[in-house]
């Protein structure tokens, strides 16, 4: 899911619990890619919008799309074309720069599940006698 704020967009992968901060150009790319636009069409659109070097923009879009794919924020669409039409570009006075995707994964350690050591006779997991009930370590769950 995505929440847009002035000058920054926050994307959240609800499955992994990873949070991402994306700058405005990256948010624009994500929006176009997530709506089903082809990478090449997104690059053409942004080249015109920012009056930028086509090769630079295409490299940036390819790289950013790859990172979004790696993080599971987008998935490849089946087939070779979706028929999604890229909107006409509105010229921007901003200088194009490669987008940034910052990852906030501080919380991931809290999401690690304790391994199930054993179960009782009815099937409920039981804690190892010496196990700390707090996966983040004593005193730090709170």
């Amino acid at each position: 899911m995505v929440e847009a704020f002035p000058d920054e967009t926050i994307a959240v992968h609800l499955g992994t619990g990873r949070y991402f901060s994306i700058d405005p150009i990256g948010a624009e790319m994500l929006d176009l890619l997530a709506s089903g636009c082809a990478v090449e069409a997104v690059a053409t659109h942004l080249t015109a919008r920012y009056d930028a070097d086509a090769a630079v923009v295409e490299d940036a879009v390819m790289d950013f799309a790859g990172r979004l794919l790696d993080e599971g924020l987008i998935l490849p669409a089946p087939g070779s074309a979706t028929g999604v039409v890229v909107p006409a570009p509105v010229r921007s006075s901003v200088t194009f720069s490669a987008p940034t995707l910052s990852v906030y994964s501080d919380m991931e350690d809290l999401l690690l599940l304790d391994p199930i050591h054993d179960v009782d006779e009815t099937g409920w997991p039981v804690r190892a006698e010496s196990a700390d009930p707090d996966p983040a370590g004593p005193r730090h769950a709170a």
Binding site: M1, E3, F5, P6, D7, E8, T9, I10, V12, L14, G15, G17, Y19, L33, A34, S35, C37, A38, V39, E40, A65, L69, G72, L73, I74, L75, P76, A77, G79, S80, A81, T82, V84, Y104, D106, M107, L110, L111, L112, L113, D114, I116, V119, D120, T122, G123, W124, P125, V126, R127, A131, P133, D134, P135, A136, P138, R139, H140, A141, A142
Partner: protein, 356 residues
Amino acid sequence: MNLRAGSRSTALRESHAVRFFGAASEVFDRARARVGMREHDLVLAGARIRLRFAGDALEPLLLPALVHLLTDGVEDEVALTVSLFDSASTGERMVAPAWGPDDYGPKGEIVGFNDDRIRTVFQPGVDILNGYDAARRAGLYWVASPRVVPWWESTFPLRTMLHWWAAPTTLQPVHAGAVGRGGHGVLVAGNSGAGKSTTTLACLEAGLDYAGDDYVLVDVESATVHSLYGTAKVEPENLGRFPALAPLVVNPDRLDAEKAVVLLDDHRAERLVRSLRLRAVVLPNVTGRRGSTLTAVSPAAAIRVLAPTTSSHLPGHGRAVVTKLSRLVRELPCYRLDAGTDLTHLAATVASLVEP
């Protein structure tokens, strides 16, 4: 290459979830028939919440943090009923789990037993079963033995249950503290170690009103914070900075493995408030310098702190957490609080946000 937004679907087995919740509830009914039941009503954000304890083993572990919310009025409809019991003291064995060892999700969510109506969580290693039936507004809390209840559960009991109950509303339990004055307050948000407790306790000891240091309930529509827990937690090595609290610690013999816990209803009841209208969100950052300063930050900076730390603790409804908290930070000014070592100045800096 064409790309589209990712999505994940999970097959729902609602009938299994409902059946398990019903069977587990029947075990509670047998337990209360066997050992008796004690009921306590709380008022939270104007809603009546009823806790039904089978036997008396869990009550001293889970109720002390909530006593400031107790009510003896009977006029309101009960908005949530939570049934709590353990097997060791009641002699009633829980029904077998209706799932396998591979069905535990990252936060203990049982695959196939969480849907629009039923929530089921059992986190191995924590070993507390939390179940919730939204259709009946009923919760079920079970442990095999009171001995397995971790110390920190006593400082924020039922936060998972309250999270589920609040999901369809504008309320949200938030991993944050809250302090204030004159009915106005500040939400103090940060990861563990960021200075959240130091900030809220500095304010408490400086005479400010206190709604919590770790988990509070926020109504994002009215920007109001409601107290959930009347506890204060201090890292033992930090206890020397709060000399008036040190003699009040309830677990002085276990500080090698636990934070120092103070029950404020016993000692600071006059400063323990039920609700505050929020004026700001502050994000503490311990600096080591003497003085404290406030610097305005963007709502995105606030949501980067508030949402992950909250949703990482609370199973389910992750989208709602982010949406609600985003609404809150858009409404309120947000600040980074560079928290200094002078606690009087730290409290005064926070208090400046709620002065008339």
